[in-house]
C-alpha cells in the first residue's frame, strides 16, 4: 500500500492542480492516457462477468435435466432402501394364514397410508371372510422390484410378486402378479400411498 502511494507525492499534486484549475494542452492526452485503463477495466469486468454467467448457465442446463431429477439408481443407498422397505411391506400385507388376518391387518396400518390404506381395506374385507371359510393361507414374496422414479420424498416402483395360495388339503398354487406402487417418505420411513395393478 505505502509503496504504491510513495512515488506519487512528487507527481500527483502537480498534475492534479493543472487538471482542476487551468486546462493545459498536455492535459487532453493525459486524460485519455488515464482513462483507457478504466475503460479496459470496465470492459474486462463485463466480459468476465458475461463469460462466467454464460458458462454457469450452460453447466446448469447440462446438469438439471429430467434425467438427473430422477434419482433412481443414481442414489444407490436411497434406491436400495426404498426397494427393501416396499418389498418387505408388500410381503407382509399380502401374506396371511387362517385366523391370523388380524395380525396382517395391523401390519398394514404400519406401512400403508392415504389412498393405499382405503384400497387395501376394501380388498382385505373380502379376503378376511374367505380366509375364515376356506382355511386359506397366502404367502407373498417379491421376485423383483425396481424404482422407476425417485425424488427426495417420493418413489414410484414396479414390483413383480409371487403369491402362493394354500388351501388345507390341497396342493399349493402359485400366481404371479405385478404391481405399481407409489411410496412417500414420512418421518424417515417409506409409506406405501398407492397400489395399482399395472
Amino acid at each position: 500500500m505505502n509503496s504504491d502511494v510513495a512515488p506519487d507525492p512528487d507527481l500527483g499534486p502537480g498534475a492534479e492542480e493543472t487538471g482542476t484549475r487551468a486546462p493545459d494542452p498536455h492535459d487532453g492526452a493525459d486524460v485519455v492516457r488515464r482513462r483507457w485503463p478504466r475503460v479496459l477495466g470496465a470492459l474486462l469486468t463485463v466480459a468476465l462477468l458475461a463469460t462466467g454467467g454464460a458458462l454457469y448457465a450452460e453447466g446448469r442446463q447440462l446438469r438439471d435435466t429430467s434425467a438427473t431429477a430422477n434419482r433412481a439408481l443414481t442414489d444407490a443407498e436411497a434406491t436400495t432402501r426404498v426397494t427393501g422397505d416396499v418389498s418387505s411391506a408388500l410381503s407382509k400385507i399380502f401374506s396371511y394364514g387362517p385366523g391370523a388376518t388380524a395380525t396382517t391387518r395391523a401390519a398394514a396400518k404400519e406401512v400403508l397410508a392415504g389412498k393405499a390404506l382405503q384400497q387395501y381395506a376394501a380388498l382385505f374385507g373380502q379376503v378376511e371372510r374367505q380366509s375364515a371359510d376356506q382355511k386359506l393361507t397366502l404367502t407373498t414374496g417379491v421376485v423383483r422390484a425396481g424404482v422407476t422414479r425417485l425424488t427426495d420424498d417420493s418413489a414410484h416402483l414396479l414390483v413383480f410378486l409371487d403369491q402362493v395360495h394354500e388351501r388345507r388339503g390341497r396342493a399349493p398354487t402359485t400366481a404371479s402378479a405385478q404391481l405399481t406402487v407409489v411410496a412417500e417418505l414420512r418421518d424417515g420411513r417409506w409409506w406405501i400411498v398407492e397400489i395399482g395393478s399395472t
Binding site: 499534486p13 462466467g52 453447466g59 414396479l158 399395472t198
Partner: protein
C-alpha cells in the same frame, strides 16, 4: 511520531488522489470478482460435463427407453409382415440372443407363417434394476401386455413379466438376454 504526522498531512492535502485511490481499489476488486465469477462459471461448466451422476442418470434413461422398445419389438409380430418383424427383432438384440434369433429365424418364420398369428405388445411399466456404465450393461424389468390374435377365435390377452439384460453397442443399448421372470423363485 513527527514524521508520521507529516505524511498524514501530505495525503490530506492531496484530497483528489485520496479519493481516486479507493476508486481504483474498488475497480480492481470488481475485476478480481469478475475474474472469480468467470472462473467459477467455468468450473461449474466443467464439473457439469464431467458429472458422473448426470451421465449415469442419462445412461439409465437411455437404457430403459431402449429396453422397453426392444421388449415391445420382440413381442410384436405379424405373419403378414414377417420379414420386417424379424428384422426388427434382430436390430433390437445383440450377443447370444441375437445369434439365437439369426440361427432360428427360418424355422420360426415357417411356424408363424403356418399359425398366421398377429402379436401386438404394450409396455405397461418398466424399470432399470441395475446399471454398470463401465461394463456397458444394464438390467431391466418390464411389465407387458401381449395380445395374440389367431385366424380363429378371440384374441388372447396375456400380461407378462419380463427380465432383460441390455448391452451397450455402437448402435445404442440392445437386448442381450430376455426371459420371463421366474415364477416360484421368490427372493431374486
Amino acid at each position: 511520531m513527527a514524521r508520521r504526522r507529516t505524511t498524514t498531512v501530505k495525503t490530506g492535502t492531496r484530497r483528489t488522489t485520496g479519493t481516486r485511490n479507493p476508486l481504483l481499489l474498488v475497480a480492481l476488486a470488481l475485476v478480481v470478482c469478475a475474474a472469480g465469477a468467470a472462473g467459477w462459471g467455468g468450473w461449474q461448466r466443467y464439473a457439469a460435463s464431467h458429472d458422473d451422476a448426470a451421465s449415469f442418470a442419462q445412461a439409465r434413461d437411455d437404457a430403459l427407453a431402449a429396453g422397453e422398445q426392444a421388449v415391445q419389438n420382440m413381442n410384436t409380430l405379424n405373419h403378414k409382415a414377417l420379414e420386417q418383424g424379424l428384422d426388427s427383432w434382430e436390430q433390437s438384440t445383440t450377443g447370444d440372443l441375437h445369434r439365437q434369433l439369426v440361427d432360428g429365424r427360418d424355422a420360426f418364420a415357417k411356424q408363424i407363417a403356418e399359425a398366421k398369428t398377429v402379436s401386438t405388445a404394450k409396455v405397461l411399466s418398466g424399470a432399470v434394476t441395475e446399471l454398470d456404465q463401465r461394463a456397458g450393461r444394464a438390467g431391466v424389468m418390464v411389465a407387458l401386455r401381449v395380445t395374440v390374435t389367431a385366424p380363429k377365435g378371440e384374441p388372447a390377452v396375456k400380461e407378462s413379466r419380463l427380465l432383460g439384460t441390455l448391452t451397450r453397442t455402437s448402435g445404442g443399448w440392445k437386448l442381450s438376454a430376455l426371459g420371463q421372470a421366474p415364477v416360484g423363485s421368490t427372493g431374486g
